[in-house]
């Protein structure tokens, strides 16, 4: 959803908070989150295996996530425009941490690099990583 220049700006902002985040796929993580509802099932909750790679949301959960994603899109628009508001940095910090140290199923932690650099063992029961 981001242009190349926008990806660079977002990556720089994430890297400033968690160095190396962009190289580990943090921009991909953010893009997947912001476009999660474009898929069916939405790419909010990774499923348990390749046969069920994403879990379905209920209609009310979908409403909540649509609202949340709208707000997040506005945050990233402000970041790209160079006009962040108070609180935006905390959201980017959260996303950078999730992208670096969450499961690779969500687009970040590329090849487990985030876990590798902190010696975190690969889970015994990871979600589907399609």
């Amino acid at each position: 959803m981001f242009s190349e220049s926008e990806r660079t700006r977002v990556g720089d902002a994430l890297d400033a908070l968690v160095p190396g985040a962009a190289a580990m796929g943090a921009v991909d993580y953010v893009e997947r989150l912001l476009t999660a509802l474009d898929h069916d099932p939405p790419r909010i909750w990774a499923g348990p295996d390749e046969g069920k790679p994403w879990l379905a949301l209920g209609p009310w959960e979908r409403q909540a996530w649509a609202s949340r994603i709208d707000q997040l899109r506005a945050v990233y628009r402000r970041v790209i425009d160079g006009a962040p508001e108070p609180g935006d940095e905390q959201i980017l910090h959260t996303h950078a941490c999730e992208a670096c140290y969450g499961d690779p199923a969500y687009g970040g932690n590329r090849d487990g690099a985030g876990w590798g650099r902190i010696a975190f063992p690969d889970p015994l029961f990871p979600p589907a990583r399609s």
């Binding site: 959960e61 409403q63 969450g102 199923a105 990871p126």
Partner: protein, 549 residues
Amino acid sequence: MSEADCDVVIVGSGPGGGTVAEVLTAAGKSVIVLEKGRNHLLSLDPPYEPLRHFSNDEIAQTRRHLLGPDPLLEPRTYRRSPADGKRLLVGEVNNLPSTVGGGGVHADAKLPRFREEDFRLRSERGPVEGASVEDWPVQYDDLEPHYAAVEQAFGVAGEDGPAGNPFAAGRRAPFPMPPGPDMPMAVVSSAAAERVGLHPYRAPTGANSVTYDSRPACVDCGFCGGYGCPIHAKGDPIASLQRALRSGRCDLRPEALVTEIVLDGGGRRATGVRYLDLRGYPDPPVVELRAAEAVVVAGGAFETPRLLLRCGLGGDLVGRFLTYHFQTFTIGVFPEPTGGERGRSVTHLHDDFMIDSPAMREAAREAGLPWLRGGVVEHGAGPGPIGEAMNYPTGEGHLRSMTDSALRRRLWVFTMQGEDLPQEGNRVDLDPDVRDAWGLPAGRVTYAPHRHELAASEYASPIHEAVMTEAGAELAFSATLPEPVSRHVMGTARMGADPRTSVVSPEQRLWDVDNVLVCDSSVFVTSAGYNPTLTLAALARRAATLLSS
């Protein structure tokens, strides 16, 4: 009542509701279990096998509300006292999962029994100024057979006899299973605790140490506390729900938000409930169910009073005497990794600060209190890597902090589940303005700890810091949580023998509508200092047994 849909409607599918469903269906009753959350636990078609939605996924389960509730749909509010105004915050307040299985899904399944003294605290220890310390109308001996039964139902692994907890209440049968493998660092911290004069023991845990009840043994994946179990080695509450469903007399309906308990014309008897079928969007249909015998409310100590208050049931004390466990964390930072990534989050406990002693009497006297009680202390591992990362500063220091990992990889923690004394002003009520997604008033917490909790925390902390140092920590410090984020929520529909001072009878029936029962931790008279699930389930089993007879 030939037109009834079932004998009993059960509101909530957690350890309380699941236990009631199992007992009643075994006794031949028909039940409908209504759960407002979604179902990630088990198929609703025979043979009711696990859905296996859970994996080792910190994002889905701790960041993205897989287990619910989503605070955008179900906000809660909090303030310390009315002096704060209507509220201090809107969002997540003591959120237990809102999903089929309720709070049993996310817990790391520490399932200790309460001790005899915990049910007669007023008699044993005496009153405390500013608190409402009372005896329970049910005593340990009344509950013992029910404790044993729910230990069997959930599958509790533990150790009794000389190697077990020296302070444990008496039990007439052994644990269903031996304890599982020790976490290596818990062996170290337990040995250090013994050298300091404490009495650690292997935690009674509802995670299989062997194949049990057709469920596999835990393999110590390390994603236990806060997570649904990928292989259902945790038995609470899937085992009870499966047995209820397999009886053919249980209908489990997720996404069913009960809005009202329906009464007969006289207003003294419940005839059923109305609920919103949340599968409908944006206008969920209202469904009415008629129950021939009773309505059991088991929504947990936050949602149960919220429902009763909306319905005007239970009297003026509904929501009052809210208690948590006042959690004190003593953190040890060790020179080497503690190995907390694997294991069942917590494998060892000690109870010493629940036990009366000259030293605690002296500490109480210095604090101007008649006595002190702390709580069970869990020897446990640190957070997952995302949770850790959020604690560190941003920028250049981040990677150094993460690789140094003082707050995860080299961390070990004692968590004291401190007894929280009941106070009438601590309560759940209905927020005057904030509404959930369906227009219902949000629940509001008003809570501030009693000085007893603070004094007990201050007493235990230096002792635990000494244990950490004895275990080899290079740094030890203690902290408490400033806001009520504890998931142990109790006491908002208090049981008692006197309708003037309680909400439910010793049989857990509302005094004003006696075919409405409360079967969750709302009924606790005092919070004790032990994880509440086994006790609420034992109480639920007792109440359901009385109801079915």
